[in-house]
């Protein structure tokens, strides 16, 4: 469904990605794992159109995302839950969800999608008149996922899902992501600090290291591969944090 082939990306003159290729199939959950600053978020941004890769190509259902702006990529059916949630802090929960359905493909389903999201995260219904900036971290992450789902994506990208959240909340949200994947048939790409949690819900994983794909494979296999777990995700840290 999504085909990323040989993209490179730069922040100014500094190269962040080298020759990245990956695939996401319909109905699949994949995860990008790797240490801080390895380039996972940059891959997500490149897919969502927030930064334009140099070289290579990204296609979705056979259509090149090439020069599409980020709102055009949402129209294609790809939504990103950005790092740090990026909610509209002065808008209510309801308004945030409402704005999430701005894409043409999403407007006519607005009410049914909202019902689905309230079923997924009932706390959001209780908070619906509250301003997003006053929500707890977990509620904000739920709202950010809900807002992205309002666009009726075929592919949902979630960046740094559990950043700053308690383990209990993380479990709830991971369960919800599994539900979304199952009932809405949304493919999911997850960037997540907690490697074992990420691999436990994913079908496949990619290990990102120094801006390159260092390893890829079945999630269960990756989990059991002590060489990879130690080399790329282990305790030793040789690079600066982001």
């Amino acid at each position: 469904m999504l085909e990323v082939s040989n993209i490179s990306a730069f922040y100014g003159d500094i190269q962040a990605l080298w020759d990245i290729s990956l695939t996401i199939n319909e109905g699949e959950i994949i995860t990008l794992i790797g240490s801080n600053g390895s380039g996972k978020s940059t891959i997500m941004k490149a897919i969502a159109g927030l930064m334009k890769p140099r070289g290579g190509n990204i296609t979705f259902d056979g259509v090149s995302l090439g020069r599409l702006p980020s709102h055009g990529i949402v129209d294609m059916g790809i939504s990103l839950v950005p790092e740090g949630r990026r909610l509209f802090p002065e808008m209510t929960v309801l308004e945030n969800l409402d704005v999430g359905a701005s894409a043409k493909r999403a407007r006519e389903f607005k009410h049914s999608t909202m019902d689905f999201i309230f079923g997924l995260f009932p706390i959001l219904m209780d908070r619906s008149r509250q301003v997003a900036g006053t929500l707890s971290g977990g509620e904000q992450q739920m709202l950010a996922i809900g807002r992205a789902l309002m666009a009726r994506p075929k592919l949902l990208l979630i960046d740094e899902m559990s950043l700053g959240l308690s383990p209990i909340v993380v479990d709830d949200i991971l369960q919800a992501i599994r539900d979304v994947n199952g009932t809405m048939n949304v493919s999911i790409a997850l960037v997540e600090q907690d490697v074992s949690a990420a691999l436990s819900i994913a079908d496949r994983g990619y290990v990102v290291h120094h801006g390159r794909i260092a390893a890829e494979g079945d999630a269960k296999a990756l989990r059991c591969d002590s060489r990879i777990m130690e080399a790329y995700l282990g305790v030793y840290v040789e690079e600066q944090a982001e």
Binding site: P69, D75, P82, R86, L87, E90, M91, V99
Partner: protein
Amino acid sequence: MGMFGQTIVYGILVGAMYGLITLGLGLLMGVMKFLNVAHGTFIVLGGFVAYWLFAFYGVNPYLSIPVVIIVMFLVGLVVYKVTLSPLLKLPSLGERINSSMLITFGIIYVVDNLMTILFKPDVRSIVGPFTGRSIDFIGSKFSVTGLFGLAIAVIVGVALYFVLARTSFGKHVRAATQDSEAAGLCGINVQRTYLISTGIAVALAGIAGVIVVSSYSISPNGGLRWLLVAFVVMMLAGEGNLNAIIPAGLVLGLLEAVGVLLVGASYRQVVALVIFIVILIFRPQGLFTKRSLHY
């Protein structure tokens, strides 16, 4: 009511107009962080549209407002497409503010001089059926043009509030204001939202121009006077706080009227600028805003 009552009436009528002339400036600054110093020039341009409609076809200035809105909206679209849209590529909001200020400063030169060539440098005002008339009410005189200005300021202020609060376009504008990148991720075409917002902002300047040319006068180089007033009102309201602009205009109008009563009419502008400086020193986020500024 006597002298004091008359001063309050005058302050309210002038203050409503001050609010009206600030709406367009506040919209551009609040939504896009464009500091449009050509705002006064657009007020004058809108005033000229109404003036020529009156001079050639005898159109009542208040009835010419729809035409002024359309013409100035189109001017706004051109201004955005040609000069302002490239600024969105700048990485920081501070750079965007600085560059937009320089660019719109250039627009002042081009448009002011074009107007001077085309319209001559004369001072113009519309002397229509209402000019100089006033209504006596509760012992004070209400100028008819002032009352029209008040009514239009309230209508336009309320209309803008409803557009921003209730329509989906308004939600897109507010989303783009709070986080333009996240707005794009929600499927909002931020460039188009900005384009239309600029059109609306320049149209708002045009409406203000109609009131100015009916109640006061305009000349091709006279935009700066109104820009200064709009700056003071925007600072009073708190940058980005659009709903507070008409109230802030009223506050400035009343303070100025009382100040003039106390120290004399020749100090009118001094009063406004002293208020401006005091606000900048003690409450840079404005009277009506709790949030502090951050760049």
